[in-house]
């Protein structure tokens, strides 16, 4: 960070930056003093890094949020050797990372929410700060926190142990199935103490329906051919990463047709 760049900032901006660096006594400093301290601070240690994103995606210099075209190569700056000779570009000041105000992750309620991610995954999050967690620990004593996943389409349930402090969980599930969840403590004696329950959700169907329309009849091979004409369903437009998905998707679709399609003709599955 160069002094000249810092000089170009307002006192307010310098103050915010010194906050990010955790510089003591910053509120009492003049602009000059802030600049001085920041120069020394940046020489001493690296600037605070933004929280690393869990998904490691190639950082692209542009920022379009809604565009589908994914260029294969990330933005690369033209190497200096091929640009006309010039003074080395001054480094812009390291931007401090303003993430906005802190939000408390809990709201003092007892709640379990479940969301659909895709045919095979649902997402659950909970807030037990309304008293349920404490109450249950008093009631039940020792045990393991579980998500009880009720399969409403086929009856029965499965208990999935979870890290209660984590506040959320992704669950692998079956497609085209209705579920309801509970979160609670399974105690030593095997009793389940419910802290909160969720709404019902249904996972999407993955693949073509077995239901045939009498009025708008289409034969099996005709429908398969129609799908073939339509094109690769799993293609999410572009990019080499997506290309592998296209290949997998085509393969999956082909398998889906041959098993779900042929074997289900005439067979009575669920209505």
């Amino acid at each position: 960070m160069r002094r000249s760049e810092l000089k170009a900032l307002t006192r307010r901006e310098l103050y915010e930056m010194s906050k990010a660096y955790g510089l003591a006594g910053r509120s009492r400093m003049s602009k000059e003093e802030l600049i001085e301290s920041l120069c020394r601070a940046s020489a001493r240690k690296a600037a605070p890094q933004p929280r690393s994103d869990k998904r490691r995606m190639a950082k692209r210099r542009h920022r379009r949020p809604v565009v589908r075209v994914r260029q294969a190569a990330p933005q690369v700056e033209v190497p200096a050797s091929s640009r006309p000779a010039e003074r080395p570009a001054p480094q812009p000041p390291q931007p401090y990372v303003d993430r906005g105000p802190e939000l408390s992750p809990v709201y003092g309620e007892d709640k379990l929410q479940v969301m659909v991610r895709d045919p095979n995954w649902i997402y659950a999050y909970w807030d037990l700060s309304g008293g349920a967690r404490d109450r249950i620990h008093r009631e039940a004593g020792d045990g393991m926190w579980m998500l009880r996943v009720h399969n409403l389409s086929h009856d029965g349930y499965e208990d999935v142990p979870v890290l209660i402090e984590g506040g959320n969980w992704y669950l692998p599930v079956a497609s085209d199935t209705e579920y309801r969840l509970e979160i609670g403590l399974l105690d030593r004696s095997g009793s389940f103490h419910v802290a909160a329950s969720s709404r019902r959700i249904r996972t999407p169907r993955m693949g073509i329906s077995e239901m045939l329309d009498e009025e708008w009849m289409i034969l099996e091979e005709e429908f398969r051919r129609l799908l073939g004409i339509t094109g690769p369903l799993a293609q999410r437009l572009s990019g080499s990463r997506m290309l592998s998905e296209v290949v997998r998707g085509r393969h999956r679709l082909a398998i889906g047709i041959s098993s779900a399609g042929i074997s289900s003709i005439g067979a009575s599955r669920r209505k």
Binding site: R63, P65, R68, V69, S82, P92, S209, G231, L237, S238
Partner: protein
């Protein structure tokens, strides 16, 4: 003989970004670039078609946040300032490249183009691009459809009230801008869940769009695949995306925009020029960024520094060729499907509007040529709007479409994964709280009403699916996180102030002037 229909759908959307608290703000550029590179060129192309008596039909979704920004005084003033500085820079470029034959042609092109843009923007449209779109709709060439209020991804919402509000606010906002009700809607990211049609019908919407698998995985099986609309059991129609025509334009491998003669996006004057020369045209932070003047063509699978100079006329010729190819393929597709299905297909081709002009510089030229060729060079296909198609073909199969989106992997993962799942506990809490307060305060004082309305605005802005999307793609993540946190924070603070009857008037006023979307909003839209 006519064999089928082509429905072009251009989805024009930008999240609401307006920062009066800063003198200039980087992300506001997205709007300015879109106006210069996409909306004005598209409008100019459409105006030309009208003027030349070329019959055509096109459908566009203009999302509420985009509409609001296009008529916002502050943003319009800033846009003009940007356009003027671009013209000034382009003039200097013409001078600079005079002795340099290779780049001079492009420099002259940019200078003329930007000046033309200003003429069109000021003289023809009086600084209001929205009225230009409206005029085309009133002429019957363009059908404008709406989109959820802040492009919220509806499957990820927790309460019916929140879904209703996104739709109702969108419909009112559409009425405000276009003087009539919208017939159709572009669901944000085509995000659909079974039963959503109930809310669409309540809002008076008659049709929407789905990615192909939303129709193809529907139940019972759709007889005509995506080549005819289907009715949900409650009568709302759904049009499925055609993959063929999408691939031809979208695909980075096989699509037209990747042609070697087209303009290379990633070689921009903002990065290539001497720093001192370009500095006045950058933002206050002095960071190099895309300016919109680019001198190279894609050239091939080569490194950036090996890109060759851009030749505008060669590129334009290519666009004409590609247009011819596109139309030819659609003719072929329509003839084949007509024969195979025994019914004239409707080929639905949706694209992000920004593809045309911003990402693919020659895109608007391509579209212009496509419409002209369809009108003059053949009679296998006609362009049509979804409303017209339904009028002509009211009898369609009834199916229950499937949960789907046009995002990566086809469901909700893009907006629900490790990078962004943390937002939902906040958004859902806010949804519930908004409904509770909307129901409780049926007769508020005028100050309280203002606060309640602003709460609704903050909630809607927090729900923009753009933030979650940005968190997934990993670009500008801190901006998206900040927007989410700020709007939720504002919402919670307003809620507390209202409940404790201690509204900070000054702060409310400041919020109203900054998060100024939907002046017409009525918080009671959350009560039912």
């Amino acid at each position: 003989m006519s064999h089928g229909y082509l429905a072009f759908v251009l989805h024009a959307h930008l999240p609401f970004i307006r920062h009066p608290e800063y003198e200039d703000f980087l992300e506001e550029d997205w709007l300015f670039e879109a106006i210069t590179e996409t909306y004005v060129p598209l409008l100019d192309a459409f105006d030309g078609l009208v003027r030349d008596g070329v019959d055509f039909r096109v459908t566009m979704s203009l999302t509420p946040p985009l509409c609001e920004m296009l008529v916002d005084d502050l943003l319009r003033a800033r846009y003009l300032k940007r356009l003027n500085s671009l013209i000034e820079l382009a003039a200097r470029e013409v001078d600079r490249t005079k002795s340099d034959g290779v780049f001079h042609e492009a420099a002259v092109m940019y200078h003329e183009r930007f000046q033309k843009t200003r003429r069109i923007y000021l003289d023809r449209y009086h600084g209001n691009v929205l009225t230009a779109f409206k005029a085309l709709q009133d002429l019957g060439r363009l059908e404008i459809i709406t989109c959820p209020a802040t492009h919220g991804f509806l499957p990820n919402m927790a309460t019916p009230q929140a879904i209703r509000a996104q739709l109702r606010v969108a419909v009112s906002n559409y009425q405000k801008h276009f003087g009539r009700r919208p017939r159709g809607i572009w669901l944000a990211e085509c995000g659909y869940f079974e039963g959503l049609e109930k809310y669409l019908k309540e809002a008076g919407l008659r049709y929407f769009f789905l990615d192909a698998h939303g129709v193809l995985y529907g139940s019972p099986r759709p007889k005509y695949g995506v080549f005819a609309p289907v009715y949900c059991p409650n009568g709302v129609a759904a049009f499925g995306r055609d993959i063929e025509s999408s691939k031809q334009v979208w695909s980075s491998q096989e699509g037209y925009p990747g042609d070697y003669d087209y303009r290379e996006f990633y070689r921009d004057l903002g990065f290539d020029s001497h720093y001192d020369y370009i500095r006045p045209y950058l933002h206050g932070d002095g960071v190099r960024r895309n300016i919109g003047i680019k001198y190279h063509r894609i050239t091939g699978d080569v490194a950036l520094h090996e890109k060759e100079p851009y030749r505008p006329w060669v590129a334009r010729e290519k666009a004409a060729q590609h247009a011819g190819n596109f139309v030819f393929n659609r003719q072929h597709q329509a003839r084949y499907l007509h024969e195979y299905l025994g019914r004239k297909p409707i080929i639905v081709s949706p694209y992000d509007a920004e593809l045309y002009g911003h990402w693919w510089f020659e895109g608007p030229d391509f579209l212009n040529f496509v419409f002209r060729k369809i009108a003059h060079d053949q009679d296998d296909i006609k362009t049509i709007t979804p409303s017209e198609y339904l009028k002509r073909n009211p009898k369609n199969q009834v199916i229950q479409p499937a949960f789907s989106s046009w995002g990566d992997k086809g469901y909700a993962e893009v907006w629900l994964n490790g990078t962004n799942d943390w937002i939902y506990r906040h958004l859902h809490h806010a949804e519930e709280r908004m409904t509770a307060l909307a129901r409780r305060y049926t007769n508020p004082t005028s100050l309280m009403r203002r606060a309640l309305n602003q709460m609704a605005r903050e909630l809607l802005l927090a729900q923009s699916s753009d933030w979650a999307f940005i968190m997934t793609t990993g670009t500008m993540v801190s901006y998206a996180e900040k927007r989410t946190r700020e709007h939720v924070f504002n919402f919670l603070r307003l809620a507390d102030e209202i409940e404790n009857n201690r509204i900070d008037q000054q702060w409310l006023q400041w919020l109203e002037s900054k998060d100024s979307i939907f002046q017409e909003i009525d918080y009671r839209v959350y009560a039912r």
